[in-house]
Symmetry: C2
Subunit: 385 residues, 2 copies
């Protein structure tokens, strides 16, 4: 194979964005051959806006049977990511799914099993993994420069959304439609990066507020405390009701502290590791000498196109994926644990009890009496992810 024929399933906000740059030939070795959407308005949009010989489908099954694609990009509402991916694998297709991997871990585990069984390339659109800032933090941690992690704090409260955003789509911010709020829609990137850089926590105590700042039934404000296997602790704070909000990530370790804020990384490096200093220093007051280090950040964030290119290269050249699809379950584990901890007002261990989570989620869906006034529209997503 020298060209991957790609079909995009779901051409709402994100799917139409992917379809456009694929149709424009911006991904080497890839060609857009099909799109699929259940909404006739979106098919009409595709006819009018996508260049090239592209087949249009109103359901995914017909696309799967069409033999006109080698790979699919799934950009449907969250609940459908896993079942559509499973069907695609069964049809021998490579899959790149939008985030989140799914809504509950049972679903995603089944998707991962189908992926492994198929042997096909499976990626997830964690485009922020292409950001060299986070890559550098990961490098400094995994290489041991920072030493054993003591604490991680991500304040990611700059996901501001006004009420009109929630009113713009019927599936948005409902238990039945999206399976959650800020944790499922805005935060999957940060939840993934957090575990990608710092590893998975072992237990979670979270405090979610549901519809605190908006007329929605899901969470729009979350504070979560986590504990890691090595005894380190962490915080994740997120909100769609604060302006201007903050995006500041701090991780401290035995050899200092890393801080990302305003797109810059500072490494406060200790000349002597703290644990060593602690046990050898003889004075009463004192602390290890600390250097403020400017660490060079090279390269650009290649974003969605970078992940798409990496996925296509994975198919054509068998190269490693930056964001393997099977890792999508990690961030979701954390997000599910945050929900479950709030619902039960208690600690939740990771891995989450997948049946208990599913049962509680079904309860929320069944007991929902939330009525939406929908003003459906497709919006530009530039600069929002």
């Amino acid at each position: 194979m020298d060209t991957v024929r790609i079909g995009v399933i779901g051409i709402g906000n994100m799917g139409s964005y992917h379809a456009l740059y694929l149709a424009n030939g911006e991904i080497k070795g890839a060609i857009l051959t099909a799109v699929c959407d259940i909404n006739p308005e979106r098919i009409k949009w595709a006819k009018e806006n996508l260049k090239g010989d592209i087949r249009l489908f109103d359901n995914a099954d017909d696309l799967f049977e069409s033999n006109c694609v080698d790979a699919v990009v799934i950009a449907t509402p969250h609940y459908d990511h896993s079942p559509i991916a499973i069907k695609a694998f069964e049809h021998g297709l490579h899959v790149l799914t939008e985030k989140p991997a799914g809504v509950y871990t049972r679903q995603v585990r089944e998707m991962n099993e189908a992926a492994e069984k198929s042997g096909k390339v499976f990626g997830i659109m964690y485009n922020q993994r292409t950001n060299p800032l986070y890559q550098k933090v990961r490098d400094l941690i995994t290489s041991g420069e920072l030493g054993d992690i003591k604490r991680t704090i991500w304040i990611i409260t700059n996901w501001y959304r006004p009420q009109s955003y929630y009113d713009s789509g019927g599936w948005r911010a409902t238990w039945a439609g999206e399976g959650g709020g800020v944790l499922l829609n805005q935060d999957p990137h940060q939840l993934d990066l957090w575990q990608w850089m710092c590893g998975m926590p072992k237990r979670v105590r979270a405090f979610c507020a549901f519809g605190k700042y908006h007329n929605i039934e899901v969470e729009d404000d979350v504070t979560a405390y986590v504990e890691y296997p090595n005894g380190a602790t962490g915080l994740f704070v997120t909100c769609t009701g604060e302006a201007p909000g903050t995006n500041r990530f701090e991780v401290s370790g035995d050899r200092g502290k890393l801080v990302i804020e305003d797109g810059k990384l500072i490494f406060w490096r200790l000349r002597t590791p703290e644990r060593e200093f602690n046990s050898t220093f003889k004075g009463t007051f004192g602390e290890p000498e600390c250097w403020k280090c400017e660490v060079p950040i090279k390269g650009n964030e290649t974003g969605h196109r970078g992940i798409m290119q990496n996925f296509v290269d994975g198919i054509l050249k068998d190269s490693n994926l930056l964001a393997p699809g099977i890792e999508g379950i990690n961030g979701l584990q954390i997000s599910n644990a945050m929900h479950l901890s709030s619902w039960t007002d208690n600690w939740v261990n990771i891995p989450v009890d997948e049946d208990l989570f599913y049962e509680k989620l079904e309860e929320k869906i069944k007991n929902s009496n939330f009525k939406k006034i929908i003003k459906e529209q497709v919006s530009s997503v530039e600069g929002t992810f």
Copy 2:
């Protein structure tokens, strides 16, 4: 009265510091006339180092009966602050106590009752209330410039202490000697400033780690989540085992966000309050216009001398105190709640159940099997508070 005769009770680290500048005549309208310490070494130090006609006592009762002081400064270990203050009030003396006000709220409530009954001037050494940065934040909040508070986050993890610090005093970092660790010794200033600026939380869920980074029995690492009466949430993160640590305070409100870090205050001010924007904006993505404002900070932090002068002025001129002693119970309520929440692994309401807290603290003292290797020494405290 045109001169206040002051006695300092306890001349270890802090007390000797206060005694020195008082003996040097650095406080207008005050004269040091007595010091008191149960340790003969400290009395010897006083003889050799304090200028002027100063009476030396080896117990507080003799000082109280001596008629040579109008006011006392209490700088003993924490547990003794309240009982000594109560005795001083009974002797008709004005009192300035070091922080914390005490170790448990029952004790401090009794002290506050004795203070009110006596009608004497009662201050607490919250020297950081003299910092114009925190005064400005309090001003911006109480005047309504920030709008209703949504979230407060204080990361105060730069209280680094090596093991040798804990080994330098027998009472340090023990349940019997100090009644706690970082919350009782290092954090009283921040706990006070936090409530002084943002008000008291109504409930607390805290995660204290005891002896995590040091060979001590009390907490040296704390993450606490709080909820305020208006629905706002807050975080307080503190540690003596991290280097270089962080001191960053953020408070967000309906009209923007205040951040103090590196001794600077930034006000991110919204042109339209967020709640108003939320209900009126018609687009899908958008947020209120935000201005980065440099707010002028005038004046200097006058510190311990400032609080001491303010206390003496309160006696001589009946002027208002910047740090009234009866407010010392507020920060202690929060600290007691954090301990109790960790001990019970549950929510704790404020005001704290004072009997339950005392019972649990007594248990800790009784069940302590911690043996200290003491290398007693008096250390310079410059730059540590």
